[in-house]
């Protein structure tokens, strides 16, 4: 196989990976701190996509329409996340995880239908922002500028996240919360606002990733349940609650999917779920996480 081809396949996998990282990082953070698997994360992602489309409709044809719309979408979803956390979710922290899981699933159902009600059931799409519409040639392969942009955004968010978590006071509190909730309580930190903050930030990431995906994917009902399963796989591979784990989990997932198509074309779908199961069996805390 030609190296340029392998490179192209790798870059394709890496783009997929960085999109998934944007989505999965929020899911992973919420799991790490709150020990909740948030099924609604996919719905937040979908809402981000719809809101971005809506924003573009409003702001069209201004050149910066896409960027403003993406910001609008991310902030809108973050706001929604905050409301959900304050009004409902905080009442479930002491309850069994079954109830927390089901609550997030109720959100999936409600938000899915709300999106259908507001934006219909058809397929919507958003064009790439003009600055990133073209592509550049790397090693004899055409790489879309927009994808390169995403490949830069992913690691940038990873680095920023790492910096905040490891080098700031807020990050210390978050890490403390994910290590030992009781200890944090004892330290007198306001766990409630940390949780709200985490949930809002996680929703922001979901909304942002939903907005950023619109130039290369169509917006359709059902994109929420499709993406959430993929995000789960990524988070499981990397280790639930581990930020870097999620990053590398995304990279692995993207490459397995990308090269899996070459090796066993019919079964790449199967291979990622099998990978998830195997990791849960041999290392439930993921490749980069630590046992809880």
């Amino acid at each position: 196989m030609a190296p340029s081809f392998l490179f192209s396949q790798f870059m394709g996998g890496f783009t997929t990976a960085m999109f998934l990282f944007l989505i999965a990082s929020g899911l992973s953070l919420v799991f790490g701190v709150m020990r909740v698997i948030n099924f609604a994360h996919g719905s937040f992602y979908m809402l981000g996509a719809y809101l971005a489309w809506q924003g573009v409709q409003w702001l069209h044809p201004r050149a910066e329409a896409f960027w403003l719309a993406a910001l609008f979408a991310a902030l809108g979803v973050a706001l929604l996340g905050g409301i959900v956390e304050r009004l409902f979710f905080r009442h479930l922290y002491g309850r069994e995880e079954l109830y927390q899981l089901l609550f997030t699933y109720a959100l999936v159902l409600i938000l899915g239908d709300a999106a259908k009600f507001l934006w219909g059931t058809g397929q919507l799409s958003v064009s790439s922002p003009p600055v990133l519409a073209g592509s550049v040639e790397i090693f004899g392969t055409a790489q879309p500028l927009y994808n390169l942009f995403i490949m830069a955004v992913g690691p940038a968010i990873a680095l920023a996240g790492w910096f905040v978590l490891n080098r700031t006071g807020v990050g210390r509190l978050v890490r403390a919360a994910s290590y030992d909730r009781e200890m944090l309580d004892a330290l007198g930190a306001n766990v409630g606002s940390i949780y709200t903050g985490m949930f809002v930030f996680s929703s922001f990431l979901a909304g942002l990733s939903g907005a950023l995906v619109t130039p290369i994917q169509s917006i359709v009902p059902g994109m929420d349940v499709l993406i959430i399963v993929q995000a789960f796989i990524v988070v499981v591979i990397g280790g639930m609650g581990s930020f870097w784990g999620t990053f590398w989990g995304s990279v692995i997932y993207g490459q397995v999917l990308s090269f899996g198509i070459l090796i066993f074309p019919g079964f790449s779908l199967f291979s990622v779920f099998a990978l998830m199961a195997v990791i849960l069996i041999v290392r439930p805390w993921g490749l980069f996480g630590r046992p809880i």
Binding site: M1, A2, F5, S8, Q9, M11, G12, G13, T15, T16, F19, K116, T121, G122, Q123, S125, S127, S128, A133, G134, S135, T141, A142, Q143, P144, L145, Y146, N147, P215, I216, Q217, S218, V220, P221, G222, M223, L226, I227, L257, S258, I261, L262, P265, G266, S268, L269
Partner: protein, 398 residues
Amino acid sequence: MPRGYIVALFCATGVVSMPASGAEPIKIGFPIPLSGPTAVYGEPVLKGAELAVSEINAKGGVLGRKLELLSRDSKANADEAVRLARELIIKDNVDFLAGTLTSAEAPAVSTVAKENKIVFIAPTSKSTILTDPAHIHPYIFRVSSNTDVEGLAGATLVARWKDVKTVATIAPDYAYGRDSIAAFKASLKKLRPDIQIVDEQWPKLGEPDFTAFITAQMGKKPDAVYCSLFAGDFVTFTKEATPRGYFKAIANRMVDGAEVGTTDEAQALGGDYPYGIISDSYDPVIFTGNEPPEHKKFIEDLKAFTKAKYASGWSIVGYQAIYALADGINRAGNTKSDDVAKALPGMTFDTPVGKRTFSAKSHETFAPEYWGVMVKEAAYPFAVMQNPELLPPSTETN
């Protein structure tokens, strides 16, 4: 434990009332995707059927009874379509079934029609398994073309590119895609044994991310591509493929047999359309050449009915399905499915693009389609088909 009581209560109140008088409308159940990536085709098919129903009812209906269309969103899922078809029969007591879009839905609904002995007219499903000898039954009829016809037309077009030596395929991984590629390959082998198939990609229907498929296919450096992606999948595919230079690498030598030559698809993609590819449509809508007069009227009526600026290239199949059914009922003289099922085979009916005849053997019309290069026209903000050509020239393949 009140399980049985509520059931009993429910039964006792008798939610369903049986139709009594002859003035009752003739009910046609119509499961069709109205959400998800294929809704972009499903909606206009339904509109076409609704137009036919309103025209027929305006003329007094069939056998003095009005037609009533009961449409349901099948979500392009086989299981959902089956569930809806059974519910339409059992709960709504429909007289006939029509509709479904994909070749996952139609064969599944066909089994329901067979079991309940209810005539089912599939307007769009092309997969040969719908009416092949193993699956044919007295109640299934198909208005659309089939994958053999489509594959032959596609291979004919690919064969015209004399310098093409290698071809790759990409198709959704389900009945239609598989049958379509198989038919294309079989026809191409006869027409151009020198052409090699160098790559086959099988994304799933509704695939959200085609990147890996695109790069994998580009790696094989085909001269041309035969594609069976359609509706939302083709939109997603194109948006990822164009910036990767996919169409440039094959010099736009793609033939897509899955009706991406319709105005619907062209409008969905707008300026992102990969101009220069060849595709098909049952109805090119915008004829650059000689337009049949019936067609002109049909398009005007359709535009008025849907209040849309441009008509859809998909509505015609829904329209044809209802007219075929109405003709069949008229011929049978009653609405009993058994009699209508006997009236339809061999029956010829008029459509805005010429006459169609249900084969007596396989209950289908082998309809040719219009094919042509999709080009930019100054008058339209989307791609239109240049000089539509009816292919394959000889339609009777069985």
